[in-house]
């Protein structure tokens, strides 16, 4: 998948450099400047995430998702998903194992949805790119809708 992307973009940029050399060069310069500015912050944040992940054992996630109060554990699941960034292909088997152990489905869905859509960790990068207002609105809406999605799925799956 990634190899394919590299191949396609390499061919495309070579073609572009051949057809419109000056515009392409200046656009590349502009884009690399923009990304360079983001990169410093991204690297710092990735190290923080790596640290948080080692401090956050799966047992804690299980404890939160398995709480008996449905509303509480759904909101807590959404919160937990917002502050953590776990690769989705790790999250799916993890959630599947909790469900098999009898954890409730609502918090699991809220957790899965905010996991990718809400980013407390990436908040500073998003804020720098689009401004505080946009970032607050987008993440806030994502959080609320993660809970709505969880409850509607709870109704449908019943």
């Amino acid at each position: 998948m990634t190899m394919g992307l590299w191949g396609v973009s390499l061919i495309a940029i070579l073609f572009s450099l051949y057809k419109k050399p000056l515009e392409t060069k200046s656009a590349l310069g502009m884009a690399s400047k923009m990304i360079k500015n983001m990169l410093l912050q991204i690297v710092g944040i990735l190290f923080l995430i790596g640290f948080m992940l080692s401090m956050l054992p799966p047992e804690l996630i299980k404890g939160v998702l398995g709480s008996s109060n449905q509303l509480f554990s759904t909101v807590a699941g959404a919160l937990l998903g917002s502050i953590t960034i776990i690769p989705a292909f790790v999250a799916f088997p993890l959630v599947a194992s909790f469900l098999k152990l009898g954890a409730s489905v609502l918090p699991a869905i809220a957790f899965l949805t905010t996991l990718t859509m809400v980013g407390i960790a990436t908040f500073p990068i998003e804020k720098e790119a689009f401004g505080l207002k946009f970032t607050l609105v987008r993440n806030g809406l994502s959080f609320v809708f993660a809970i709505i999605i969880a409850f509607s799925m709870g109704v449908i799956l019943r």
Binding site: S9, A31, G50, F51, A96, T122, I125, K133
Partner: protein, 248 residues
């Protein structure tokens, strides 16, 4: 300096961690390496894509298909654009920024970023494998509907101008190309500047300032370079080169 604050903090944190809790420190580094690898894999592609959008996608095209009046069709296109993408959510930001400059609506930007984060085709297969096809499809349908509604609500709270103004202020902070400009209306294309400083000025049907400008911050420490630049600006017969340098 502000840019490095986070990195310095993280460095101190890791040194402390590795000294006092070496096992935790190693685990953290191991986790981080996964994310760094993911970033290194995707960011060059994002760089190229951002530049390609800049050069090849005309503004009217984006305005028409993803702009304010593009309606549900624009929403669907944004969902598709977001879903075929790869990589973590921050990879969506540079591309979104260049799309905003090309005239995409706030609604569709929210949709692209959200779809980029949640709806990924390889991930759907993975989810179906572990949680079942039924679970995956229902979650997918719910999520897509939610994302479109979210976009429509977001545009009521955030205006395009809020974001555009923020981008502008950021650019003034970052882009030095604001410092030297050629007034295209008055420029008579006499080529004096191109001859004097070919490394900075180019002619290609219109006058251009070359990408060398990316390094201008370091160049401006060079007194010789600054002197030549001043001379060139002064020699321009109609003073079409505008410089905003605060040099002592």
């Amino acid at each position: 300096m502000k840019k490095f604050r986070l990195l310095i903090f993280v460095a101190i944190l890791y040194v402390g961690l590795l000294v006092f809790f070496p096992a935790k420190g190693q685990e953290s580094l191991f986790n981080t390496w996964y994310y760094i690898k993911e970033m290194l894999e995707i960011m060059p592609v994002i760089l190229v894509l951002t530049a390609l959008i800049e050069v090849w996608v005309p503004k009217p095209f984006i305005e028409q298909h993803l702009g304010e009046t593009s309606g549900l069709k624009g929403n669907v296109m944004s969902i598709i654009l977001g879903s075929i993408s790869a990589g973590p959510i921050y990879a969506a930001f540079p591309i979104s920024l260049s799309l905003i400059k090309k005239g995409i609506s706030i609604e569709n930007i929210v949709i692209i970023i959200s779809a980029w984060a949640v709806v990924k085709i390889p991930m759907l297969a993975n989810e179906a494998k572990f949680l079942g096809l039924k679970f995956m499809s229902i979650r997918w349908v719910c999520t897509v509907i939610a994302i479109v509604i979210m976009g429509r609500i977001a545009k009521r709270f955030v205006s395009k101008n809020d974001v555009l103004e923020h981008i502008k202020s950021q650019e003034h902070e970052h882009l030095v190309s604001e410092k030297i400009q050629i007034n295209e209306k008055t420029c008579v294309k006499c080529m004096l500047c191109v001859k004097a400083m070919p490394e900075l000025f180019e002619y290609n049907g219109k006058m251009l300032i070359t990408p060398l400008l990316e390094e201008i911050d370091t160049k401006l420490i060079d007194a010789d370079f600054v002197q030549r630049l001043r001379d060139t600006v002064n020699r321009c017969p109609i003073k079409a080169i505008e410089m905003q340098l605060n040099l002592e």
